[in-house]
């Protein structure tokens, strides 16, 4: 298996509704990544597109529609998707293109244009449920995650303010991110606790916003990487795991599929003690409680311990183990697949010392990014390392 490095990344602004089409967004993110890497379309061997439900953009089989904006025309090109897991799964697919030796340079582009879906992109989520057992009850995803959040809070006796703390941290972290949709340096826990109740216990500011956007990443084989940099950032381990759609049979207080994916990635990366060996993380945070849930799933702390570490400041950007230094989905925005920008591109920018105002102090060496999707069942994990 060939070693795989990252040599460039790009990301558009994330906003609720953008004028650009999906392929235009893809072009802008791709162009930025190509320029950072110092290469052109002709240097790209293969392209991976990551984009989640067709129903957001409103184009069936949208991968084919997006490809020309993703430098895919006339090249080996494939779209991968597994809901919210796509943002880390697409770079995993790019990794195996290079690790297998079939490509020296692979481009990964992730796109989502949720604003096309009217009146609200939640509308599209009404159709992901089991049509016989769940849909007749007319649930939506916010209701579902509210039940998971309550289960997590009840099991470990977690106070709502300790969950709201994550929203505050990430929206503050997003200040200074040039792509951020919802940065807020003045937000307080009280703001979150006083925001509109959507589905108890989930309130408006517990949720990341729907968004339009794109991101891109360029992966390179060990054989060629020295042409581009003397200090590469490596994709050291990848893992993915999915549980059954029969989510009603799971306990909902611990995401075992995340732990399975993490163990796979850590084994590949030679990480034996994640808490000690990993310097920072980008756990998937479409809701504030999910950052805590996923810290535990990523084996970065014990079950029920994540809110305590957060309260103690351990997960702040200048803490012992920063979580979502990008600002995450809560602060930067949540164009589903395009959150590769926070979950993998950010690892690269941090490890390469290119994160600007978001740069973690202390010269981090190892970061882990994770995404989560489908009906509380999919986990995708990537470990990146400098040097």
């Amino acid at each position: 298996m060939n070693d795989v490095a990252v040599i460039g990344a790009g990301m558009t602004v994330f906003q609720r509704r953008l004028k650009e089409t999906g392929k235009e967004l893809s072009y802008l993110a791709t162009k930025m990544a190509l320029e950072e890497a110092g290469i052109t379309k002709k240097d790209i061997d293969m392209v991976v597109m990551g984009s989640a439900p067709d129903a957001f953009d409103g184009i069936h089989q949208k991968g084919e529609n997006l490809l020309d904006g993703a430098a895919g025309a006339g090249k080996p090109y494939v779209r991968v998707f597994n809901g919210g897991g796509t943002g880390v799964f697409a770079p995993i697919a790019g990794w195996w293109h290079v690790a297998s030796g079939v490509a020296d340079i692979a481009l990964v582009v992730c796109e989502e244009k949720m604003g096309n879906c009217y009146p609200h992109p939640q509308t599209a989520f009404r159709h992901i449920w089991d049509p016989i057992l769940d849909r007749p009850l007319a649930p939506n995803l916010v209701w579902l995650f509210a039940m998971e959040m309550n289960r997590y809070m009840t099991k470990y006796n977690i106070k709502k303010e300790d969950i709201a703390r994550v929203a505050v941290k990430n929206k503050r972290n997003a200040v200074g991110h040039p792509c951020a949709q919802l940065p807020d340096e003045k937000i307080t826990i009280e703001d979150v606790l006083n925001s509109e109740m959507m589905a108890w216990p989930v309130q408006r500011l517990d949720i990341s916003p729907p968004s339009d956007g794109a991101s891109a990443l360029i992966l390179c084989s060990k054989d060629k990487v020295r042409q581009f940099t003397d200090d590469p950032v490596w994709v050291d381990g990848v893992g993915w795991n999915i549980d059954s759609t029969m989510w009603t049979n799971r306990d909902l207080c611990f995401p075992r599929y995340v732990a399975n994916a993490a163990r796979m990635a850590y084994k590949m990366a030679g990480i034996h003690n994640p808490r000690k060996d990993i310097d920072f993380a980008e756990p998937y945070d479409p809701f504030d409680y999910k950052e805590l849930h996923h810290m535990e799933g990523l084996l970065l702390c014990n079950k029920g311990e994540a809110p305590i570490l957060t309260r103690e400041g351990v997960t702040e950007r200048d803490g012992d183990m920063p979580m979502c230094p990008s600002g995450g989905l809560m602060g930067v925005g949540n164009p589903i697949a395009a959150t590769m920008g926070q979950k993998v591109c950010e690892l690269y920018w941090q490890l390469a010392g290119k994160a600007g105002k978001r740069q973690i102090p202390g010269d981090p060496l190892v970061g882990v990014g994770q995404a989560w999707g489908d009906i509380m069942q999919m986990a995708t994990v990537a470990v990146l390392r400098r040097g």
Binding site: Q15, H60, Y118, H120, I132, L137, M147, A199, L252
Partner: protein
């Protein structure tokens, strides 16, 4: 570059108004048919037990996803239409992000005598609070009105 323009109205950019309309008939499946035909006649649920690991599935399934073996007819069991709430929410907004006329209490209910749980609406005036551990039973439509869908379970209520 439009990136710094904040748009909240999707009709602001020039656009074409389209849809992806398609309608469906979803078959209940073999296990689903059996479950719902039973529910049309009885006030209990059917579950199915894996012959290898002993896990009791509700709603019943034709196979065990872990042992990956079939579940024979003799392993289908009748269980009471009742259980205990594992977790719940009180929904205030619908899928279009609009306020609901009436809040909806939805719960995950661990069905007695099984290893599974079912999604259900709860009839209660205890809104916006944790109902974990509450014992509830299904309120079913009158038998002559049952259609063989989840709609035959009107709601669950405390007992």
């Amino acid at each position: 570059m439009t990136f710094l323009e904040k748009q909240t109205d999707p009709t602001t950019p020039m656009h074409w108004n389209g849809d992806m309309q398609a309608d469906y008939f979803y078959s209940n499946g073999v296990a689903g048919d059996k479950f719902f035909k039973h529910l049309m006649k009885k006030d209990t649920f059917l579950a199915s037990m894996c012959p290898e690991c002993g896990v009791v599935f509700i709603p019943p399934r034709l196979y065990c996803e872990d042992c990956f073996c079939g579940i024979p007819d003799e392993n289908w069991v009748e269980v009471k239409a009742q259980g205990v709430i594992r977790t719940n929410t009180t929904a205030m907004m619908d899928a279009h992000n609009e306020p609901l006329e009436e809040p909806v209490v939805m719960a995950l209910i661990e069905i007695d005598e099984t290893d599974g749980a079912m999604l259900g609406r709860i009839k209660t005036d205890m809104l916006g609070m944790d109902l974990t551990g509450m014992m509830v039973k299904a309120k079913l439509r009158p038998k002559k009105e049952r259609e063989g869908t989840m709609k035959d379970i009107l709601y669950f209520e405390p007992y």
